[in-house]
């Protein structure tokens, strides 16, 4: 979940509530769903919140939410924007993988250290969330003073920058935190930030690049050039975002613009000029996109979802206190009353009218709702397999077995090599393993094809504990089978081990007999061979005529391999054999 770091003094200043103490602010923010997590070394307060309200990733957005919460602000607010002076030209060479760009010019900012830190934090948090670690969208913020706009040749009345794609070795610039000229390819190899984001562009034929009249000044999504670096002296900023989706970068841009506007900056539109070769063809967009969208929500849906009756004025009030605008439609008839709700352009989480119902609920206060038990009757019951498992466990514990619960994921070595079983052999436990594509560790790389190896591991880890150790497990085993829809044949096996000084085949078979008698199934044990067991002391478990498992004395090689100094008799078979079908 996202975490936002907040300077409480800044929060007091931006909300206009100088009188609020830190504790009071924490409690107010908890009400908004921001949970206090702790303090940073610099004394900033850290709050964790759900990843829906990404407009709260900086102190400016949090302050805005609080102002609505306190009732100091109501309804939708959209900053005024000045007419465009800059044009972002998208060149035909732009990488196909990253064709979109957006941005804004921001003038008259006053960036003290705290404000600059906050801006950098917001940028990084947006990268981590909406930007999907910059792969989907990346933000570049530049000092406008350092940019020399190429005067547009035809109209001659504006500045422009160009978003294009270049050969990895095609040009050089001095990246941030460096003092030498590098090619984009060299940045990926030699610059720490470059190494971090290299994976995003490595496969591209052409690398994304942004030019002004003076040349290359940004290598999105990796790093900006040092020439346009923003400092506390910066007054006017050029904001550019590139990415794989226009909507996503437009919304990220809006969140940045709202944050800077809250600090008194003026937003100036830019024109984005796409050429013929861009995915949507030739078109010109004016950005930032501050269009206010509307969605219609019915009064009935709000009441049914929250289980509360409302007057329509009350609903409008709750919408406005959430920073939304609302107009009542068809107020005469409560059955068909609905609201035309306007949504500010910094909101990225409203996909459906029901998201607006949630906002009403939050503004009303979910803790105000009285819980009630739903007045509908249903009949409860266990799944048949779950009952069979439970009944089998009852029989096993009655026979004195300690019931175990082992992981389904294990290592290939444990289930094959250490049990003398070859992969793909036609015996219990010999099936093809289901492999995990990128295993977390060698200990958890496959699903276990049988359960006895898990029990042997438990015996191995408990040689210092008192004997006898009679252990059993009813649990999942799985093997690769492409004839199954999910390609994984999942079964439940019943496995047991008797580790005692005088354990013999007979001890295992005796218990097997009892289990089979309890479930009223026929047991036969014709001799068989299995490399985990002693020859001549191992049998196939045949239940109602079907071979379903194996019973025998574990081979001394297996015992020694598991540091066991006493005999172990064991069995394993398919749980379904005990069932009715």
């Amino acid at each position: 979940m996202p975490v936002v770091d907040i300077d409480p003094d800044e929060l007091r200043e931006l909300t206009g509530h100088e009188e609020k103490g830190d504790e009071e602010l924490k409690s107010d923010l908890f009400g908004l769903g921001l949970e206090y997590e702790g303090e940073t070394e610099e004394g900033l307060l850290q709050f964790e919140f759900g990843p829906d309200r990404l407009d709260r990733l900086s102190v400016e957005g949090v302050a805005r939410s609080l102002r609505y919460h306190y009732g100091d602000a109501r309804g939708v607010a959209v900053p005024d924007t000045n007419d465009p002076d800059f044009t972002y030209v998208v060149d035909a060479n732009v990488p196909d993988e990253r064709p979109y760009v957006t941005g804004a010019i921001v003038r008259g900012v006053t960036l003290d250290e705290a404000a600059l830190d906050s801006l950098i934090q917001l940028q990084e948090k947006l990268h981590a969330t909406m930007g999907r670690k910059r792969a989907k969208g990346a933000i570049g913020i530049h000092d406008l003073v350092a940019i020399k706009g190429d005067v547009l040749s035809e109209e001659g009345d504006g500045n422009s920058i160009t978003y294009t794609g270049i050969d990895p070795e095609g040009d050089t610039f001095v990246p941030l935190d460096s003092d030498r000229e590098m090619t984009p390819a060299a940045v990926l190899e030699e610059h720490p930030t470059g190494e971090k984001y290299a994976d995003i562009v490595r496969e591209y034929d052409r690398y994304p690049a942004i030019y002004d009249e003076l040349g290359l000044f940004s290598f999105p999504p990796v790093i900006n050039g040092r020439r346009t670096e923003v400092s506390t002296d910066s007054r006017d900023l050029l904001v550019e975002l590139t990415g794989t989706d226009q909507w996503t970068i437009d919304r990220m841009c809006n969140i940045i613009c709202y944050a800077l506007s809250a600090r008194g900056a003026t937003i100036e539109d830019v024109e984005i000029v796409y050429g013929e070769s861009s995915p949507e063809g030739e078109r010109t967009l004016v950005r930032p996109d501050f269009e206010v969208e509307t969605k219609s929500v019915s009064h009935d849906r709000i009441e049914r979802m929250l289980g509360v009756e409302f007057a329509s004025e009350e609903v409008v009030d709750l919408f406005e206190r959430s920073g939304l605008g609302a107009v009542v439609v068809d107020s005469e008839d409560p059955e068909t009353t609905s609201y035309e709700v306007s949504i500010p352009p910094y909101r990225v989480d409203v996909l459906h009218p029901l998201d607006l119902v949630d906002d009403v609920g939050r503004a009303y206060g979910f803790d105000e709702l009285e819980p009630r038990y739903p007045d509908v009757g249903t009949v409860g019951g266990r799944h048949e397999r779950s009952r069979l498992e439970a009944a089998t466990r009852n029989v096993l514990t009655g026979l004195g077995f300690e019931d175990l619960l082992n992981f389904h994921m294990t290592s290939e070595t444990e289930v094959y090599e250490r049990m003398n079983v070859e992969v793909g052999s036609d015996i219990l436990g010999g099936g093809d393993p289901v492999r995990i594509t990128e295993p977390y560790s060698e200990d958890y790389e496959i699903l276990r094809p049988w359960a006895l190896p898990s029990l042997a591991m438990v015996l191995e880890n408990n040689t210092h504990r008192a004997y006898p150790q009679d252990l059993a497990e009813v649990g999942l085993v799985a093997e690769r089978d492409d004839d199954v829809n999910t390609r994984v044949r999942e079964r439940r096996h019943v496995a047991g081990v008797l580790a005692r000084h005088d354990a013999t085949y007979e001890d295992a078979k005796a218990r097997l007999q009892t289990i089979c008698r309890d479930f009223d199934v026929d047991l036969e044990t014709p001799p068989t061979e299995h490399p985990s067991f002693i020859d001549g002391r191992v049998a196939s478990v045949v239940i109602d005529g079907e071979p379903v498992g194996v019973v025998g004395e574990l081979h001394p090689e297996i015992l020694v391999e598991h540091d066991l100094e006493l005999p172990v008799a064991a069995f394993e078979f398919d749980l379904e054999a005990l069932g009715d079908e």
Binding site: T244, P371, V379, R465
Partner: protein, 513 residues
């Protein structure tokens, strides 16, 4: 009268005039000391014997004390060497004397300390002078050590205090504090016949037959009616007996299932390895959601799923791209059917809920319905005391014509109350598949701490519409291990679950009910 055999023997051996010790009686009767003791107390309780208790003190030489019996006390050896060196006439160098006295190690300090204490002389600035009149021959401590050595009996290293009557008590205390002898105290019980005891003996006492075990033969022969049963020490510890026990986490799972069945829930069942379609796409999880990246999920190295309901796949794809309803929007994220068809270990059992709600598992469901499962899920997380790579998730949902957030709250308040968790709090939360969504918090029954106990919400229209569900569905999920740790007090989840399990922990775990 009839008494058990040991009591008869003790009664006969006891005297009305002489106080006899229990050891003496045991020797006399040939009974084991503990049997004799038990008989004595039973007779006392019957009023036949009087028992007097006296403290007996004995002394025993320590190894150090024994060494000094032969070699002499270090201070005495020092004095003699000093006199020989002429210290009686004037101060002499201490080092020389110590060498001549053949003292070394800790003996030097012992000698010097006691030399001064006993007035054998003075030590000043590394020089030593001796009092020529001191009588070391009759040093009371040395004399007492020798007396103690002489008083030792055959093969008996302890000397009873009364054999050392000549030795001053203070000297013995001094020797104890010098750790040259040890003092042993014990209670000696002596026994005399009471008047009732004498009377009983005069009237004649017979031994009653007592038996140790009730045998089948006694029952069939009727002999049991004529015998007395030996009394057992019923307070003594018995040997350990171990039975099998259902795994402590299973017990919690069974308890959860009981509660849910009691609340009208039916149990779901379905595959652990499943298509991402059922695990995530049906849940309206965008394909570029961080939880769907490779480092959070266990993708399996198998071909994609063979069959998915094609029309459902189309509806789900359309929903991801365009949303549902006139005013609904989709995600601005890529969506590919290949990803949806890829097989992974389920990260939550909500995949089962999707299969059931879609009607493909057990057919179309008409409201009202309640379903649950308590099954394993797999998350590529860091393994530590509170996180496992595979754990049990409690999953539940309710479908009805008309459900509100209040119904959801009421259901959970009821459920958690069954586990002693009251004061459930609902913190508004965000999930891609539910709206509104709540994190559930409850008070720990013993520590009173507020802890997260689940995640819940009303399934979104984007989840329900493609599945063809036209009613309200509320759902929730919770880790069983978290509930088990709460109810069993386990601190490391790995003790509970997996091949590192400690058998002693499982054997000793408290039963859940």
């Amino acid at each position: 009268m009839k008494l058990p055999e040991p009591q008869v023997a003790v009664l006969n051996a006891a005297s009305a005039t002489d106080e006899l010790s229990i050891d003496h009686l045991a020797e006399e009767t040939g009974l084991k000391p503990e049997t004799a003791t038990q008989a004595v107390f039973e007779l006392r309780d019957g009023g036949f014997l009087g028992v007097a208790e006296a403290e007996s003190v004995a002394y025993e030489l320590t190894d150090e004390g024994r060494a000094y019996v032969d070699a002499g006390l270090p201070e005495v050896r020092l004095y003699r060497a000093a006199v020989e060196a002429g210290a009686a006439d004037g101060p002499v160098q201490m080092g020389r004397v110590i060498g001549a006295a053949d003292l070394d190690g800790p003996e030097v300090d012992i000698a010097l300390a006691n030399f001064g204490r006993k007035g054998y002389g003075n030590i000043d600035s590394g020089e030593l002078s001796a009092d020529g009149d001191a009588d070391t021959e009759s040093d009371p401590e040395a004399v007492a050590l020798v007396a103690l050595a002489n008083a030792e009996g055959d093969g008996e290293t302890r000397a009873e205090a009364d054999t050392l009557a000549d030795v001053d008590g203070d000297v013995l205390d001094q020797l104890v504090s010098r750790n040259l002898i040890e003092r042993h105290e014990r209670t000696v019980r002596t026994v005399t016949l009471t008047d009732a005891g004498v009377t009983a003996l005069m009237e004649g006492v017979e031994a009653a037959e007592t038996v140790d075990r009730l045998t089948p033969e006694m029952l069939t022969s009727g002999e049991w009616a004529d015998v007395e049963f030996t009394e057992y020490n019923v307070e003594a510890d018995a040997p350990e007996v171990r039975g099998g026990k259902t795994h402590v986490l299973r017990q919690t799972a069974e308890r959860v299932k009981d509660v849910l069945v009691g609340m009208g829930f039916q149990e779901m069942d379905g595959p652990h390895a499943d298509a991402d379609f059922w695990i995530n796409d049906c849940l309206f999880m965008p394909q570029d959601h961080p939880a769907r990246t490779h480092w959070d999920r266990f993708a399996l190295d198998v071909p994609p799923i063979e069959d998915l309901p094609e029309d459902l796949v189309d509806r789900v794809e359309r929903t991801h791209r365009e949303g549902v309803d006139e005013d609904g929007d989709g995600y601005h994220s890529p969506w590919s059917e290949d990803f949806a068809r890829a097989i992974a270990l389920r990260g939550h059992t909500t995949s089962l809920s999707m299969r059931y709600l879609s009607g493909t598992q057990i057919g179309d469901l008409e409201p009202p319905q309640r379903y649950f499962s308590v099954e394993k899920v797999y998350r590529n997380d860091t393994l530590d005391a509170t996180h496992l790579l595979e754990f049990f998730q409690i999953e539940g949902w309710v479908m009805a014509e008309d459900l509100s957030v209040r119904d959801l709250m009421g259901t959970f308040v009821e459920f958690y109350e069954q586990f002693g968790i009251t004061d459930v709090q609902f913190k508004p939360h965000y999930n891609p598949y539910t709206e509104p969504s709540f994190e559930l918090f409850g008070r720990h029954p013993t520590t009173g701490e507020l802890i997260e106990i689940g995640n819940s919400g009303m399934f979104r229209d984007e989840v329900l519409e493609p599945l063809g569900v036209e009613h309200d569905v509320m759902a929730w999920g919770l880790a069983l291990e978290r509930l088990a740790m709460l109810t069993t007090g386990a601190e490391d989840i790995r003790d509970l679950h997996g091949t590192l399990a400690d058998l002693d922990f499982l054997r000793g775990a408290e039963v859940t009910y």
